[in-house]
C-alpha cells in the first residue's frame, strides 16, 4: 500500500507527522457547520490553557516592541559612545533605562539594541511563516487534489527541496546575495522552508477529497477553484496551521543562527543574531554582551513554541 505509505511519510519536525490529518478528517466527515465548531472548540480550549495565555502575553509584548520600540526606550540603538561606555557593565537597578543591560563593544546601549532587535526577528518569523504557508498549502493542495502526473511532479520537487539540509541550504542561498537585508533572509528561509507544509497539506487534502460533500459539490458542477477554496481549504487547513505555528519559533532561531554565522543580517542592521555574533568575542571578558541577546532569542522562540503547542493541543483533540 505505497499510496498511504507516502502520506505517513516523515516530516522534519515529526511532531506534525502524527496527528495532522485526523483532526481534519473528523471535521470533514460531518457537515461544514461542524467545521466551524472545531474552531470555536479550539478557541474555547485555548483560552483556558495557561501555556497559551502566557505565550500570548509574551508575543503581544514582543510584537508591540517590534512595531513601536520607542515605547520602550528613547535611546538610539546605533549611537555609539566608545570613549565613555565601552563594555560598561549592566546597571540592574536602572530598569528600562538606557544602561539597564550595559553597553556593547561599540559603546552602544544593549537595552536599546535588544528592544530594537525584536523587529527583525519577529518580521522574519511572521513573513516567512506566512510565505511558506501560502506556498506550501498551494503546492500541497494542487498535488493532493489533482493527483496523477501533477502530484508525482510536485511531490518529487517537494522531496528535492526537503532533502537539502536546511541550514546548509540557507547558507548557500544567502551567500548568493550581496546585499543582505531582512527580506533576503526571509526569501532564503521561505525558499527552503515550504516543503513540510506542502506535505502536510497534501496528505490532508488526499483524505478530504474523498469526502461526501466534495463529491457532492463536484456532482453539482462546482468549479475546481470553488471546490478547492470553499470546500477543501477550510477543512484541510487545521494541520497546516499547527505546523505553521510551531515553525514560527524555529524561524526566529534560524535567523539568529544565520546572523551568528555571519551570513544572515549584518551591521548596521540591529538584530539579536548580529549582536550575539559580535558578543561572542567578549565571552571571557564581558559575558553579558553575549548572554542578554541570547536570552531574548530564547524567550521569543519559547513564546512561539508554547503558542504552537497550545494551538496543536486545541486543534488536535486526539492529543489531549
Amino acid at each position: 500500500m505505497p499510496e498511504t505509505l507516502k502520506d505517513t511519510e516523515t516530516t522534519k519536525d515529526g511532531t506534525a507527522a502524527v496527528p495532522g490529518p485526523t483532526a481534519a478528517t473528523m471535521a470533514a466527515s460531518t457537515k461544514p457547520e461542524k467545521a466551524r465548531s472545531l474552531w470555536s472548540d479550539a478557541w474555547h480550549d485555548l483560552r483556558r490553557n495557561p501555556l497559551f495565555v502566557a505565550s500570548a502575553i509574551l508575543i503581544t509584548i514582543l510584537v508591540v516592541m517590534a512595531a513601536f520600540p520607542q515605547l520602550f526606550t528613547g535611546a538610539d540603538p546605533r549611537y555609539a559612545d566608545l570613549a565613555n561606555h565601552y563594555l560598561q557593565k549592566p546597571n540592574w537597578s536602572h530598569v528600562f533605562k538606557e544602561d539597564w543591560f550595559g553597553y556593547d563593544v561599540q559603546g552602544r546601549s544593549i537595552y536599546a539594541r535588544v528592544i530594537h532587535g525584536a523587529r527583525n526577528s519577529i518580521l522574519v518569523a511572521l513573513v516567512v511563516t506566512a510565505l511558506v504557508t501560502v506556498i506550501g498549502t498551494a503546492t500541497g493542495m494542487i498535488a493532493g487534489y489533482f493527483g496523477g502526473l501533477i502530484d508525482t511532479l510536485l511531490s518529487r520537487v517537494t522531496d528535492i527541496f526537503f532533502a537539502v539540509p536546511f541550514t546548509l541550504g540557507a547558507m548557500v542561498v544567502l551567500t548568493s546575495f550581496e546585499e543582505r537585508s531582512v527580506w533576503v533572509v526571509i526569501l532564503a528561509l521561505a525558499f527552503l522552508g515550504w516543503t513540510q507544509i506542502a506535505r502536510v497539506a497534501r496528505g490532508s487534502v488526499l483524505t478530504i477529497k474523498q469526502a461526501d460533500y466534495v463529491m457532492a459539490a463536484k456532482a453539482l458542477g462546482a468549479s475546481t477553484s470553488r471546490i478547492l477554496l470553499r470546500h477543501i481549504l477550510p477543512n484541510a487547513i487545521a494541520p497546516v496551521i499547527v505546523v505553521a505555528t510551531i515553525s514560527l519559533g524555529g524561524y526566529i532561531g534560524s535567523e539568529a543562527t544565520l546572523s551568528f554565522l555571519g551570513i544572515g543580517l549584518a551591521e548596521p542592521a540591529v538584530s539579536w543574531g548580529v549582536d550575539i555574533s559580535s558578543g561572542q568575542e567578549q565571552l571571557r571578558n564581558a559575558a553579558f554582551v553575549l548572554i542578554i541577546p541570547s536570552i531574548m532569542v530564547s524567550i521569543t522562540v519559547l513564546a512561539f513554541i508554547m503558542l504552537g503547542d497550545a494551538v496543536r493541543n486545541a486543534l488536535d483533540p486526539k492529543l489531549r
Binding site: P2, L5, G14, I160, F161, A163, G169, V172, S298, K318
Partner: protein, 309 residues
Amino acid sequence: MGRYVARRLLQMIPVFIGATLLVFCMMYALPGDPVRALAGEQAVDPAQIAAMKKDLGLDLPLWHQYWNYLTGLLHGDFGTQIASGQPVADIIADAFPITARLTFFAFAFTTVVGISMGIFAGMKADSARDRVLLMVTLLLISVPSFVLGFLGQYFFAFQLGWVQPNVSGEANWNELFLPAVVLGSLSLAYVARLTRTSIAENLRADYMRTATAKGLPRRRIIGVHLLRNSMIPVVTYLGTDIGALMGGAVVTEGIFNVKGVGWSVFGALKQREGATVVGIVTLIVVVYLVASLLVDLLYAVLDPRIRYA
C-alpha cells in the same frame, strides 16, 4: 517487498539529481570568482585567470559543467578543489568519518535518552514529572544550539573542567561527547515529546485493554504491545533526523572546532569551492534518502498491518 525497495530506489534518482542540480545552480549563481580571489588584492592577470578557468572547466556553460560533474560522480570522481588542487573525495574522506561519528553519537544520545524520558513521562501523563519534562523539552527547543554550545563549553569545559573545550584532529569519542549532546539536544526534546505523546495515547488504546483483560503480564504488555506501537512516529522522526543532524553540524562543529563536513562545507562555501560544497551536500542528501527508506522498511517490522507489495 523487493519490488517496493526497487521502486523506492528508482524514485530516489530524480530526487538525488534534482537536489544536486539545485545546489549546483545555487553555487553557480554565487557572486565572487574563486579563481580571481586566489590572487587576493594583488594584480589580476585576465589571461592567466582565463587559462586557469579553462583547465578547471569553469568556463563552460552551467549545463555542461553540471553534466561533467554528474558523469564524474558516476565514476566516483567528486571533482577537484580549485585552490589546493586536492581531490574533493580526499577532503570528504577526511571529514566524513568525523561527522559520522559525531552524528552517530548525537543520534544514539537522542534515541536512548529521548525515548527513556518520553516513556518515563508518558506512563504518567499530566503528572508532575510529565509537566517537568514538558518544560525541559520546551527549554531545549527554545535555546538555539549555538547558545547551548557556548553555555556547555563555558560550564563543562571552563568552570568544571570535565571535558576539553575543543576537539582535536583525531576527534576521539570522549572529546565528541559534549558536541554530540549539544547537537542532539533539539532532537532529544522532540523525541521525548513524541514518545511521551504516543505512549500516553496508546495507553488508552483498545488493544491495551484487551491485552490487560487477557491477563498478559504487565511487562509484556508494555514491552511488546505498548512500546512497539508507540515507536512508530518516533522512528519516523528519527529517520529524517539523521540528515538534519548532519546538516546542523555546521554550527556545532564550528563551536567545538570539529573538523567534519560542516566545518569543511562552511570553509568551502566562503572560498567558492563549488565542487566541495555540492559533494558534501550530495552526500548528506544520500544519507537522508537512505535513512528515510530504512524508516519505511522499519514500519513493516513495527506495524504488521503495513505490507509492502
